[in-house]
């Protein structure tokens, strides 16, 4: 994504310290992560201490402080998926990718995250790759799914 778009977002909130979270949400949405230099720009433009920007950015799950891999692998750990065996899916993804929750591999192929219910509980347990849902997942099927993502 272009630097221009990020700068555009930052400009919109210049001089408005109260809009810190708005600005970060928008940048995250566009860029999928919050680079350090961008957070410095946000701090300067919105007139908030850099430490505060960092604090907000690191606390909330919506924000990512590291670049994401080419593909985002998400295992739902919501209650229905949990009751229907999400733990086994997690174990399998972790075994196949060697990643723990929140990590990205060295070749930036996958970022792996567990997280909240995405509203498709009826087809849980679920694996979600780049926003595409794979419902009624079993550990055996995961390898074939991940193979499609290089």
């Amino acid at each position: 994504m272009s630097e221009q778009t990020i700068d555009g977002i930052i400009e919109k909130y210049r001089g408005q310290p109260n809009s810190l979270i708005h600005a970060l949400v928008e940048i995250q949405h566009e860029n999928h992560w919050l680079p350090r230099d961008v957070m410095h720009k946000v701090a300067a433009a919105l007139q908030v201490p850099f430490a505060q920007v960092m604090q907000i950015a690191s606390f909330y799950k919506a924000f990512s402080l590291t670049p994401k891999g080419r593909h985002e692998v998400h295992v739902c750990t919501g209650m229905t998926c949990h009751l229907r065996g999400a733990a086994k899916l997690r174990a399998k993804v972790e075994e196949l990718t060697g990643l723990k929750d929140g990590e990205t591999d060295a070749d930036s192929r996958f970022t792996y995250e567990t997280g909240a219910c995405l509203g498709s509980c009826s087809i849980g347990p679920e694996l979600i790759v780049d926003g595409k849902h794979y419902g009624r997942m079993t550990p055996e099927k995961i390898e074939d799914v991940l193979k499609q993502y290089e």
Partner: protein, 550 residues
Amino acid sequence: MPKLQSAAELEKYRAEILARRDPAKPCIAVCVGAACDGMDSAAVAAAFVAEGGKLGDKIEVRTTGCHGYCEKGPNVVVTPGDICYFEVQPTDVPEIIAATLKGEVVERLVYKDPNTGAKAVHMNEVPFYKHQTRLLIGDNPKIDPMRIDDYLAVGGYAALVKALTEMTPEQVLDEVKKANLRGRGGGGFPAGSKWETTRNAPEKTKYVIVNGHEGESAAFMDRAMLTGNPHKILEGLIIGAYAIGAQKGFMYTRHDMPLLEKHVRNALAQAKEYGLLGQNILGSGFDFECELHFDVGIFVSGESSALMRSIEGNAPEPRPKYIRTSVNGIWDKPSNLNNVETWANVPQIISKGAEWFTSIGSEKSKGTKLISLSGNVVNSGVVEVPMGTPLRTLVFDIGGGVRDGKILKAIHFGGAMGGSIPADLIDSPLDFDGMSKLGAPIGAGGLLLMDEDTDMVEVARYLMDFLVNESCGKCVPCREGMQQMLHLLTNITRGEGKPGDLERLEDLIEVTGVASLCALGKTSGDPLKSMFRYFKPEYESRISGGSAGK
């Protein structure tokens, strides 16, 4: 589209839409709601568009939000006749189109009873649907959420017209009060009195807000409504703003649902284009704007004061309860917050009247309730029934009972701040007060079935783990109390529980409940309380025996 300048113009436009539509022309509604989408209903929809396109104008294909029966997606409904096809694959498409054109039915794709083999073709014969009263979700198959005209075609914005042209704000407020509409977001608080408090607050600037956060685990009905029929919620909000005297509204929802975001953004833009938002709505002199806002991925952002802090651009930390958001909300202005489903009820109350509304439901809980039915249930999905419906109807008649022929052990309501009741309370009615007394408050409406293999200690541990991660961490009792409870529960699940652990847990529930600032901490021990009330022997035997019991 030129702005609609008056109620008459809107009604004229509606008549034009209806005149252009031929009710006899077959329409194929493909669900692309969250669950069907996960079963690749987009490919099914694409196949219908491609095949249907070859026929010129003989058939209409519509992509829609959640139909309800998510378990059996991808779902397709063909009108006229509301013929339901389940688990449709792209390869089935030519056959469905051919049959539809001939007025026939593809028998192999209709509902078949798993026990008797009896078939059900039409929606009102399918067991999952026929025991429901689908006042709110029922329009979903008729609406492409990206097209405001579809909403107008089913009578959308007629309630707004009525409110603006035939009623004073006081009369609208009065109707909602008389309807005894209770908040659907968890508390069951009367919406009318909340509206009145904000209306009567002296400040001129007032806000109205839709709580579409839906962070409760395994609750998905609010997102099904908001994604599938965003204009219904918006219409309710505009009517509420008129009654309350608010000039500005906010829709607050999840940042992680791209389709929801797309539909809501589009709905707001279309409403503005048509003159249903903005200055001088339909020539009534009433001005109202609405903005979309996103959460930051933490459950407590759904709590009223935290949500308002979040809209202000601050960290979503709850404020003490003595600050009433109805009077001191966003930027300290009077702000009225209601849940998605609460707002969705407003248009029909205005159109059909309080008397009609109060004829549905139980004595103290009126209207219908949307339920997200999931867990170890045969038929998972979004269900809508009158308040007061026995849980048995939900679980067995609609839900089809427990999966894999297992036995029902418990019913859990209300997510991490709710509770579990044993199977023998299955005849209890779905009712705000009744369920709270049993220790399983309806909450937002997530109902989970748990089968005989469910480890109730693990359920409590899981829920506590969820809350520990979702607390904002502002107050010590919540942070520390929950950590300690989690620690003890984890030990018990590992077979390392010690005598006295249950008493310590009881103390911690008490202290955390009393000393936490917001309802997250205050009710964090509620699931555990219900466990001690109904499933204590299981906990005791885990401590003395160690192994997981049934």
